[in-house]
């Protein structure tokens, strides 16, 4: 946080190197948010670039009431949502399969790895089929480590709405896994 503030001050004194450091620090998280909404790498990258340029222009209005990251994700969310809404309704993403979440590899036995792979692909598929807003809520909560309050300020949803949505989304994922487990058991029987 303090490092961010220092970099912002240096940027406003004319140092583009300081802003470059901010971009490098947050580009993956901003890109993940825009990608989750737009589900197209090219468009998501353009939206992420717009996000940083908008943030650069508005640095003077950043009042430090929230974390810089939260303020930045708020710009990313609005930029991506605006792009998403301005899309023609029939347009299909060419690389939707790349927009699924990447899950970190953990050390596990081959059998566990197969099981984890199965769980991952199920969750990835489920997230890929979710509404952009819902998948982004999960991304903000789990990947960008934003609190419910911060997600509320980023998305404009009420805190209780965010809580309810997160609860339902997790339940949906759980039900998908439960259903899959039942199918596996039935096929074995």
């Amino acid at each position: 946080m303090e490092k961010d503030i220092l970099l912002i001050k240096e940027t406003m004194q004319g140092s583009k190197t300081a802003f470059k450091s901010l971009v490098e620090q947050y580009q993956d998280y901003v890109f993940s948010v825009t990608l989750k909404i737009l589900k197209n790498r090219e468009e998501a990258e353009e939206a992420a670039q717009d996000t940083f340029i908008k943030a650069y222009r508005a640095l003077g209005s950043f009042e430090q009431r929230s974390k810089f990251a939260t303020w930045l994700y708020q710009i990313a969310w609005r930029t991506a949502i605006d792009r998403y809404r301005s899309r023609p309704a029939t347009r299909q993403s060419l690389d939707d399969e790349q927009s699924f979440l990447q899950i970190r590899d953990t050390s596990a036995t081959p059998l566990q790895q197969v099981q984890q792979q199965n769980t991952r692909s199920l969750i990835e598929n489920a997230l890929g089929q979710m509404k952009a807003e819902n998948a982004t809520l999960l991304t903000l909560f789990y990947l960008n480590e934003q609190s419910v309050k911060e997600i509320s300020s980023i998305t404009g949803l009420t805190e209780s709405n965010v809580k309810v949505k997160l609860f339902r989304l997790r339940n949906t994922l759980k039900n998908i896994l439960t259903q899959n487990l039942k199918e596996e058991v039935n096929s074995l029987v």
């Binding site: 583009k16 580009q27 890109f31 993940s32 998501a44 990258e45 650069y56 789990y142």
Partner: protein, 162 residues
Amino acid sequence: MELLWKYAEGNCTPDEKVAVERMIASDPLLRKELEIMLDVQSNLAGMEAQSPSLHFTQNVIDALPELYANKEIEPLVKPIWMKVFVGAMVAIFAVIISIPKSSGTSTISLPYLEEITNFINNTVSHLPSMTIQFSILILLSLAMLVFFDKMMIKRVRGLMMI
């Protein structure tokens, strides 16, 4: 169900934790539910950010407008003029101090100099505290100039930040 999620996220109070552990010990179905919840939780918590293309950072930097360019802010009063001003003040000061003592023995014979020195001499003789008044005037002028200069620099920097 909500309590089970709380447990899976690790947000339970010690009492709630004990309650959940009791429930899952007596109910195998509930235990299975919790296992799935933990599975979902760990997979979501293990998400990794995706990276944009390699040139992303440079593209952003190249596209930045020149908003906060490091423009040289020149002081209102250039240092050379400050030196001239101070020099002139010192010279006047020196003349004022030296005139009453040297007026009688002056060897300089430039035109009008005698009239000027006489005038200053008369003025000074009528105002014995003139030296002090001059000193204060000079100091105040300098202080005001420096203050005004700093204020203007601050204002220009503020405008550049908007």
